[in-house]
Amino acid sequence: MAGWTGKVLRANLTTGECTIEDIPEQWLKDYVGARGLADRYLYEEMDPTVDPLSPDNKLIFACGPLTGTPAPCGSRYTVVTKGALTNAITTSNSGGHWGPELRFAGYDLLILEGKAPKPSYLYIYDDHVEVRDASAYWGRGVWETEDGLREELGIPGLRIACIGQAGENLVKYACIVNDKHRAAGRSGVGTVMGSKNLKAIAVRGTGGIDIADPKAFMKAVWTMRNEMAENATTAALGELGTASTIDMTNLFGGLPTRNFKQGQFEEAENLNGNAIKDTRMVTNKACFACTIACGRVCRLGEHSDKFLVNMHKRNWKNAGEGPEYEAAWALGADTGVGDLDAVLKANWLCNDLGMDPISMGATLAAAMELYETGVIGDDDVELPLKFGSGDALVRMVEATAYREGFGNELAEGSKLMGDKFNHPEVFMGSKGQEFPAYDPRGFQGMGVAYATCNRGACHLRAWTPGFETSEGIDPHATEGKSEWVVGQQDRSTAHDATGACLFIAFAGADIEQLAPAVSAATGIEYTTEDFLKVGERTWNLEKMWNIKAGFTAKDDWLPKRLRETPHTDGPSAGVTVNLDVMLPIYYKERGWNEDGTPTNDKLAELGLAAI
């Protein structure tokens, strides 16, 4: 088989039994790979109503046909499971080198079932697969675990994905971190891994990936590479990283600040791409096969000794990665912290402890709002949770991962925390998941994108700010937004299925360019239209999964603050999100019923009639 390896590795952690199976060819064709294919497996094999932290939940790691090839940014793997934070289907993806290594070992998919009786890690060396004892690493952070496994196994080229203390302690938004700094971050995929007693997955693959039509494949690859090399976004992302976006969102009043109380952050300049590059960055870094290299490698140097109130002992001298845009916002603007060193430390702690910086920062911001409004007092917290406090930020990130003190509340996410303190309005998110760094009052379309996303609030499924700030488009109007979001959700979903990073779409290589590459790699002809269908099919499948899990139109919704409370100043002043206008248009555009359920006709059209 070319393009795909066509193999799925299934590991039952309860029994330690590992088997290798063939993937049905029709599924490969219909879903291409990665996210779509894993969605199909989850739909087929698992009851969507199970408790996400029970052994019945399955955890799937999935690569696409371009993962591990020289297609630009062909580095991604997607983790599909029932999210601990959201109870919805989740599809978190990550770059780095782990996904390609899984493919070199011979697998497109890895399905984990059951629960290990004791802390374990999975060791994969080509077709040698083993569940091994991980008691030496339990209680340790991501970085120590990776270093320890490297030393224990002594295999050059080993790639490791693991959880930190946050995953072990079932923090609701724990992530899975690979290559020390790359994370499948959102919705609590690391929590699910922790609930299975699985500390790490160490992979070494020595095999290769065959290509059906090498000549056509390399032509498609170079078409993309040349396109990207000419594109200004490539240079900007490589030069200034994703945090350069801060300038744009702040300009439009769409940079949520202090738990979405304001749309602009007065200290944004301290956290933007230039600030990071000029003050703390050592070099930029690429994921596997990436020709953009947006990763920031930073060093604190002589600033290591700041913000250490109540902190555990830790060596801050090492170089680490981050912050990217979302982390810089969540740990920065959203908590009102304008000090890059505090944000950098909080970011590294998230990486090492294995937590999603978006939900972490946003949950802390919600707690800060509770503190500032007097709902929680000084007796409840070990240090004042004031907006703008770098000390509170850094310490509470650590306290959350260990569930120490008020960290135990933060670890539940802002929805449950808000409910517990009888102030549900502090939760700024959708389907239980905190919003990322775009205020829908600045970019109206983000409202419908957040509300309708299958994995809870997410910026990657339909990133509207680029479209909404283009010429002739009013970012505050509702016209045309729902339609664009539907189209973009299908595009990005197909894009995710290939195993290529979504960023190449911003740099001039979208599904129009990916379709020929996947066709040449796999020998199955895909057109752009086919890809849009793959995206739509996958989106509808995820939606059906969520409906079976108990989600309704009530969950396609946004908090009152966005719908009813406008900002009082700045470029987005006076704007609220008109979701009640956009949502019916969205459902109609999707070909769904008014209650947001896919029609039988739509499912039949997509070949999903049988489900």
Binding site: P70, I211, N284, K285, F288, C290, A293, A319
Partner: protein, 161 residues
């Protein structure tokens, strides 16, 4: 004429496009484990460096080979392994001071960079220009400052004894 690869570690982002390209030329699949150029990652130093054969003027791998399986390509001056002559004794891998001669697990024979016959694929694939192909009378001369420093240290240590 003699070609060599001039590596600029500062430009490397660690993306492994060179390994993919090299393995493609060697094996016809994308298989970094078979690449003859390897990207070294130094996490703590925040530095990445592709690393391959320097095409030494006085090639120790060639001198060590008991069956003359390593010869000089007359077009590029690259030192290339003759697969049919190699007996898999691994002596060249020990002789190489830079660790850039490998043996293939499948055949146990030696494999090293042959400059792709004059158009190194790694250099073409590199998105940042970290691997330059240079026409040089003194192969590997980018390495000279380092070599001189090592040499000076060695002589100093030797003199002290």
């Amino acid at each position: 004429m003699s070609l060599s690869l001039n590596i600029v570690p500062d430009k490397c982002t660690g993306c492994m496009q060179c390994e993919l390209a090299c393995s493609w030329v060697q094996t016809g699949t994308f298989q970094p484990s078979r690449s003859l150029i390897r990207v070294n990652v130094f996490d703590e130093e925040a530095s990445y460096a592709p690393y391959t054969c320097l095409q030494c003027d006085e090639a120790w791998c060639m001198n060590a080979c008991p069956v003359n399986a390593i010869v000089i390509d007359e077009n590029t001056n690259a030192k290339v392994v003759l697969d049919e002559v190699c007996i898999g004794c691994h002596l060249c891998t020990i002789a190489c001071p830079f660790g850039t001669v490998y043996t293939l697990p499948q055949t146990d024979k030696a494999a090293k960079c042959n400059l792709c016959g004059g158009e190194p694929a790694c250099s073409t694939a590199c998105p940042t220009g970290a691997i330059e192909v240079v026409d040089s009378d003194r192969p590997g001369d980018w390495f000279e400052p380092w070599a001189q420093r090592v040499d000076a240290n060695y002589r100093e240590a030797a003199a002290a004894n």
